[in-house]
Amino acid sequence: MIAYLGRRVIQSLLILLGVSLITFALLYLLPADPVRQIAGRSATPETVENIRRQLGLDQPFIIQYWHYLTSLLSGDLGRSYIQRSEVTVLIVSRLPASLLLMIGAILCELAIGLTMGLLAAVRRGTATDQTLMVASFVGVSAPQFVVGLLLLYVFAVRLGWFPIGGYGTWRHLVLPSLTMGILGAGWYARMMRSSMIDVLRQDYMRTARAKGLARGAIIFRHALPNAILPVIAMIGIDIGIFMGGIVVVESVFGWPGIGQLAWQAIQRVDIPIIMGVTLVSAFAIVLGNLLADTVAPFIDPRIKLR
């Protein structure tokens, strides 16, 4: 276990290294000059060069990357070019909001998706099943910004049940989480359904029935833990998809998370922030996968961590 975790952590670090290198290279190639953004329109060429030198942006790529890496190791993500604050501070201050949104979204998609999938699998072939599956496809096929705007319009503007955007109470959280969750819920419903159907035709399910167990016990004790495994693995992958989704959802709902930070930074080539957010996201994804893989053996004892 320890050995496994150790190995996975090293792998993850290598992945993060790769992510940082590729992102850094991409940003290096970006046809926009961050120094311009800093120096402002009244700057003289000397001032511009001066700033460029100060930021080390006159150095060759490899050196720049090396500097970035070495300061990264000491936990320093640099300073934002535009905001002039430490990127770490900026990200840390916005991370809770994004995490909250992500947790809300995961809860939404699990609650909606798993219930739908379970119901559809148990009622396989019936009208309920068909309806649920079409609904799940609608969820999967709906662009997030459309869903977001629609929810906002109906539940906040028209019905006034929830605040129109913003951050603070649980009521603020509902609509954004739902918007993010609906997409995943569709996938989960489908996965849960097929995985459940698969499990339901396993021999051991027949055994469980042959023992005369109650329906609830059969489904929840025997089928669910088996069926949920692929879903758990999905949650790890999901985090990556969420990281994209928050850019859109946060902007629709004015949610103060790192998605908005990233988006504003991209608009203004605030490279340290873009790097920081990418790394944090990649970290979250890697962590999510690691977590999913580590949890799996607790659900299915056949899985050995290797």
Binding site: G212, L213, I299
Partner: protein, 605 residues
């Protein structure tokens, strides 16, 4: 037998008192049908039989004859929504002679019957237990489902049940998960689960088919013991006539969903009435009948087709911090043998002893150490192209003919493929050759256009044989090639193999765990245990004079298809077969073989 449909149905709910001390279970005119693409089709028709208290009834018949469907119908566990009971009654009687018709019972009531009054064991012990729940949990929950016992009491009952099926250290086993147990153990857990509540009826659907002979013997023994203790009635479903002979009081023979014959075991075996029964019995391989089939080939022939010398195959297992190799499966641990033309060498042994691995090494599918010499050329020293050329002489037939044929190719192309690969013959010649091969193995040439799934198991195995023959090999490795087939089909395929050997002089390496089959076909026999050969000699030497205890056990364990010759109690193995997996650096001890004369080699420890 009165068949007032209405009264029967009401009887299901209001227990009717019947005067006769009737059977526990009575099935009358049962029809089960399944819905398919082409409408509804009966898979069990007008089946009637009854099961007396304490009796063992065997249902035998070829694959697909509706045995399992019958069992599932009794349990009301028919695959939904495809299958349903068309008509008929399934009456279950308790001690007070109240009877219930299971065929019309609602799910809630049926649930109370299942597990409590009728229990069932399924064929696949590997998949019949829930992999994510500990066996303790699975045992306890079935006890709790039907009794008002507290968790602790249920646990005690569970431990008792495990002890009853002779599982050692029952208490600590409760915490184990199914995958941590061997197949035999799992099947015993299944039996414990089924018998924990002392049901009136136990239905065992092929409970031993997936198990090694030795383990099969133990499990059957156990079933008998338990029946004696509890007086349970057993319905035992099997296609193995040996098992039938061993266990049955009465026998029902089924074919195409109908009962062909019914009678006591003695009657069925000694005076079979139906043609089909006779056919079935004739096809059963029996130990002892192989003797004298042909004279055993004497000693070693000068020009061997294949010589294997000190063959080792290891599989490295990774673990540890950097995923380095830290454990190793010693699948094959220094075996040597040779095969002469016209000769059949059988490799026998229990599951996991390394038979398939040996075959794969010979076929070039796994890396190995040691020497494999084919047609006088050592494979180790050859380049890629030469090796490919030499390998032509060795072909393989696998256990599962369906799995070993690409399901997306026409069988004609599949048989032609080896010719194509080795650039033999032009296109027209090829198709003629393939047609000839098809005819040779007993298929018609116009079947070349079909896909594998359009054939029966036996036909598919013929296709595999044709494919193996295409390159005119000197050696064919047959890895459990007939194990998956019905007895009658099996017999025909074995005949074909023998014919081909006579005709082309092919040598066989015949791998099987079925001692009866082996005795039937082999000239020489090698017995493998834990990756090593423990005994090797001519068929006669090994079968009539087994010297190694393990060989003896193997032979003893084979059920004899004759109720008159039931074996005495089968000696139980005290422990599980040890694992071939070891830590790096710990090599297993090497067995030395001693020649008892005439090439009869036996391991001495």
């Amino acid at each position: 037998m009165s068949k007032g449909a209405t009264s029967k149905r009401t009887g299901a709910f209001a227990p009717a008192v019947s005067v006769t001390a009737g059977p526990v279970l009575e099935i009358s005119d049962l029809t089960v049908s399944v819905r398919g693409e082409d409408g509804e089709r009966p898979v069990v028709s007008d089946l009637s039989f009854s099961l007396a208290r304490g009796e063992t009834l065997c249902i035998a018949g070829e694959s697909g004859s509706g045995k399992s469907m019958t069992a599932l119908a009794i349990m009301q566990l028919l695959p939904q929504p495809a299958a349903r009971i068309g008509s008929g009654a399934i009456r279950l009687r308790d001690m007070d002679r109240r009877e219930i018709d299971l065929a019309v019972l609602d799910e809630r009531r049926m649930r109370r019957i299942r597990g409590d009054r009728i229990a069932m064991i399924f064929q696949e012990p590997m998949t019949s237990l829930n992999p994510v729940l500990s066996i303790g949990r699975q045992l306890v929950e079935s006890i709790e489902a039907h009794t008002g016992l507290s968790r602790a009491e249920a646990r005690r009952r569970a431990i008792e049940a495990l002890k009853a099926v002779r599982i050692s250290e029952a208490e600590s086993r409760l915490k184990q998960f199914p995958h941590e147990l061997s197949g035999g153990m799992r099947q015993r857990v299944m039996i414990a689960m089924a018998l924990a509540l002392k049901p009136d009826v136990l239905i065992a659907d092929e409970p031993t088919t997936a198990l090694d002979v030795t383990v099969q013997g133990e499990v059957l023994e156990l079933l008998r013991d338990l029946q004696r203790e509890h007086g349970t009635s057993i319905i035992l479903i099997t296609h193995d006539m040996g098992v039938v002979a061993e266990m049955a009081d009465r026998v029902v023979i089924m074919r195409h969903g109908r009962m062909v014959e019914e009678g006591t075991a003695a009657d069925i075996f000694s005076r079979p009435q139906a043609d089909y029964t006779r056919e079935l019995l004739a096809a059963v391989p029996r130990i002892g009948t192989g003797v004298g089939r042909q004279k055993s080939v004497e000693a070693e022939m000068p020009a061997s087709v294949a010589v294997v010398n000190d063959l080792h195959v290891h599989f490295d297992l990774r673990g540890g911090f950097f995923g380095q190799v830290n454990r190793r499966v010693h699948a094959v641990e220094g075996i040597s043998f040779s095969i002469a033309p016209h000769e059949t060498l059988a490799l026998v042994g229990e599951s996991g002893c390394g038979k398939s691995t040996t075959a794969k090494a010979l076929a070039g599918l796994v890396p190995y150490h040691g020497d494999i010499v084919i047609g006088g050329r050592n494979l180790a020293g050859l380049g890629r192209d030469q090796r490919k050329a030499v390998r032509r002489d060795v072909q393989m037939i696998f256990q599962d003919p369906y799995a070993s044929l690409d399901p997306r190719m026409r069988v004609g192309d599949l048989v032609a493929e080896p010719l194509l690969i080795h650039g033999i013959a032009s296109k027209e010649e090829r198709s003629q050759l393939v047609a000839a091969l098809f005819e040779r193995v007993g298929l018609s040439a116009d079947q070349m256009e079909l896909y594998p799934h359009e054939f029966s198991g036996g036909q598919r195995q013929r296709i595999c044989i044709a494919r193996a023959l295409a390159l005119r090999p000197k050696l064919i490795i047959a890895d459990e090639s007939v194990s998956a087939l019905d007895v009658s089909v099996q017999a025909r395929v074995l005949d074909l193999l023998k014919e081909l050997q006579r005709e082309f002089g092919i040598a066989y390496l015949f791998i099987s765990h079925d001692m009866a089959v082996v005795e039937n076909i082999s000239d020489r026999v090698a017995v493998m245990y834990l990756g090593q050969i423990v005994e090797m000699g001519t068929r006669d030497q090994v079968f009539s004079n087994p010297r190694h205890p393990y060989t003896k056990r193997l032979i003893e364990a084979v059920p004899v298809p004759d109720p008159a010759k039931r074996r005495p109690r089968f000696a139980r193995l005290d422990q599980e077969i040890p694992s071939p997996t070891r830590n790096i650096g710990e090599d297993p001890p090497k067995l030395a073989l001693k020649d008892l004369g005439n090439g009869h080699l036996v391991a001495v420890s």
